[in-house]
């Protein structure tokens, strides 16, 4: 870890992280406030008019409890897509752009091993994601405590958020691997980012109807089973562990690629 680089990376990453955190804070409080156990019948009625659409966005499940409501409306789409946008922004700012514009030369010219350079940049990204996760968790519990003191989120939500962290780690690892492995800026960004987006779309299609449900086996996003995690289901927990392992392995592969490659800066 290189302290000066970490501080500089954190400064570079702060604005996109704050913006994404603000957007997700808005959705989190808005959606929590929209929860009304008595009105769920009306929402269910609306869902029934457009079942495919709600299903595609992962919002077609049970919403009669606050936990179910949040899992349905936040964890299927918003808590996956916006963090992915943040990951791509950070990978671009921290790795792809400095290589593309040549300012990486100054980092490489410093007396540090390349592993330390890329490790520090990865640590910056993971810190931002961890901060976002802590912020959202506190916000969820805080908002729920204020608006619905009778509803219990408890350990189930913490398990879901731990699983979601594993999913973010996996997306971050794949995006960083692509950033480190490809020579040109466009594939460096879009091989990883595009892959995750395709997987995301595949998940939407799989959720949209029974006809395509087998597609879920073709996307790693299926490994994040939010309802299973909420219930403490063993398979769901192992799937989340698998996501974390893929994430760590991708990060390790990204560092190796960065250390070994030619950097024409």
């Amino acid at each position: 870890m290189i302290a000066a680089l970490y501080a500089r990376g954190a400064k570079t990453s702060l604005i996109p992280t704050v913006i994404i955190a603000a957007v997700l804070a808005m959705y989190t409080t808005l959606i929590t406030a929209l929860y009304d156990p008595d009105a769920s019948a009306a929402l269910d009625a609306m869902m029934k008019t457009m079942p495919g659409l709600f299903d595609a966005f992962g919002m077609g499940d049970d919403t009669t409890t606050l936990m179910g409501f949040l899992l349905n409306y936040l964890y299927g789409f918003l808590y996956v897509l916006f963090p992915l946008v943040l990951i791509l922004l950070l990978v671009h700012r921290l790795v792809i752009r400095p290589i593309d514009r040549g300012s990486m030369a100054y980092l490489l010219a410093s007396p540090h091993r390349r592993g330390a350079v890329v490790g520090t940049l990865a640590a910056v990204m993971l810190t931002m994601l961890a901060a976002l996760m802590v912020f959202l968790t506190v916000l969820e519990f805080g908002t729920a405590a204020v608006l619905f003191p009778d509803e219990q989120l408890g350990i189930g939500l913490l398990r879901v958020n731990a699983g979601l962290s594993a999913l973010w780690l996996c997306m971050a690892g794949l995006s960083l691997l692509s950033a480190c492995a490809f020579r040109d800026a466009a594939p460096a960004l879009w091989a990883g980012g595009g892959f995750v987006i395709v997987e995301f779309v595949a998940q939407m299609v799989a959720q949209a109807g029974d006809r395509f449900k087998d597609i879920r086996y073709a996307t790693f996003l299926t490994l994040f089973d939010r309802y299973g995690l909420a219930d403490g289901d063993g398979t769901a927990i192992w799937q989340a562990v698998a996501l974390a392992v893929v994430g760590v392995a991708s990060l390790a592969a990204a560092m190796t690629a960065f250390v070994r490659r030619d950097l024409e800066v």
Partner: protein
């Protein structure tokens, strides 16, 4: 004699296909010397610098600094090196001073700090003053020359053992170029080894003890600067008082009519844009005193010196031999003849 070279290329090859890259480079740079690396755009200067910085790995051969492999041992190598990239690309969102402080902190974080942080900061201040640099502006808003100054300060402020400078004066005005030349001379006096690439001979001539010529990825020769200076041809544009005077000069030097007779040391290369046949372009090899004495016999309105192009210089020094096995064994053709003449 047995002293290890500060910097060496041992058969270093990086092949990008289609003839691009560098091939079988052989070069030793002694400690405390200043060596120029002269080649046209695209000849492979930056590729060589990147190999020396450990940014890219040679396909074959090795680039070494202080006996350490530049790719494998790059972190250790870089404790000794100050680097000025060919394309100055400091982060545009930082101010100049924030960038320089960042680079100082980055070095201080390293395993090895050759000079204390205070010494680096003091040296930074000196260099900022020397180059009249205002580092408070954002780098993105700086002119090319000002950015170059920031990069020069960053390269030199750590007082490194070895300086790798890729086209260091690009973008600098003549006054700043002069200050840069002084700086390089001081660094040499301090004992630093300087390896400086350029596509302009005068830049190399003013700073370097030796020069390596690079053509299409091959080092075609490594020479002492004094020998090159003596041997290289100079081109003068003479404007005579009238066309008759120009004719008289031409008639008096029948041996100099193109192509020049072997060994005469003078060619009249008349370009097509001469005004009313009053001007002649003359290429003079070796010393110019004979040429000047002779010219004094004529009524001359103007005399201008023109820089020889690199292509012409290569041709003049090495003839049109193939660049393949260049090597470092000294010049042929014009230079050898000239040294004999002296």
């Amino acid at each position: 004699m047995a002293e290890q070279p500060a910097l060496s290329l041992d058969g270093a090859t990086k092949d990008y296909g289609h003839g691009r890259g560098v091939f079988d480079e052989q070069l030793d740079v002694d400690q405390g010397s200043v060596v120029g690396f002269l080649g046209a755009n695209g000849a492979g200067k930056t590729v060589t610098m990147r190999m020396l910085m450990g940014f890219i790995r040679p396909d074959r051969g090795a680039a070494c600094i202080a006996g350490l492999d530049c790719f494998r041992d790059r972190a250790a190598v870089q404790t000794r090196v100050g680097y000025l990239p060919g394309e100055v690309s400091c982060p545009t969102d930082m101010t100049g001073i924030a960038f320089l402080n960042f680079m100082t902190a980055l070095r201080a974080d390293g395993a090895h700090v050759a000079h204390g942080r205070r010494a680096v900061e003091a040296r930074m201040g000196e260099l900022i003053d020397r180059f009249d640099l205002d580092p408070s502006a954002r780098i993105g808003r700086m002119s090319k020359g000002t950015r170059q100054k920031v990069a020069i300060v960053a390269a030199f402020m750590g007082s490194p053992d070895v300086l790798l400078l890729d086209e260091p004066t690009s973008g600098l005005d003549p006054l700043m170029q002069e200050r840069f030349v002084e700086l390089v001379r001081e660094e040499r006096a301090r004992g630093a080894t300087v390896f400086l690439s350029s596509h302009m001979f005068p830049e190399v001539e003013r700073t370097c003890d030796r020069v390596a010529f690079l053509k299409a990825g091959h080092i075609v020769g490594v020479e002492d600067m004094a020998a090159v200076r003596a041997a290289r041809a100079r081109t003068f544009l003479i404007t005579f008082a009238d066309a008759a005077e120009a004719g008289r000069y031409r008639a008096a030097h029948p041996e100099a009519t193109v192509p020049a007779a072997e060994g005469t040391g003078r060619e009249i290369v008349t370009s097509h844009d001469v005004a009313a046949n009053m001007s002649l372009t003359v290429r003079v090899s070796g010393t110019v005193s004979g040429f000047v004495k002779d010219l004094a016999e004529y009524r001359v309105a103007d005399l201008a010196s023109r820089e020889q192009s690199l292509e012409d210089m290569f041709l003049h020094l090495y003839g049109d031999r193939e660049t393949g096995g260049g090597g470092t064994n000294g010049m042929t053709g014009a230079l050898t003849g000239k040294e004999d003449a002296r």
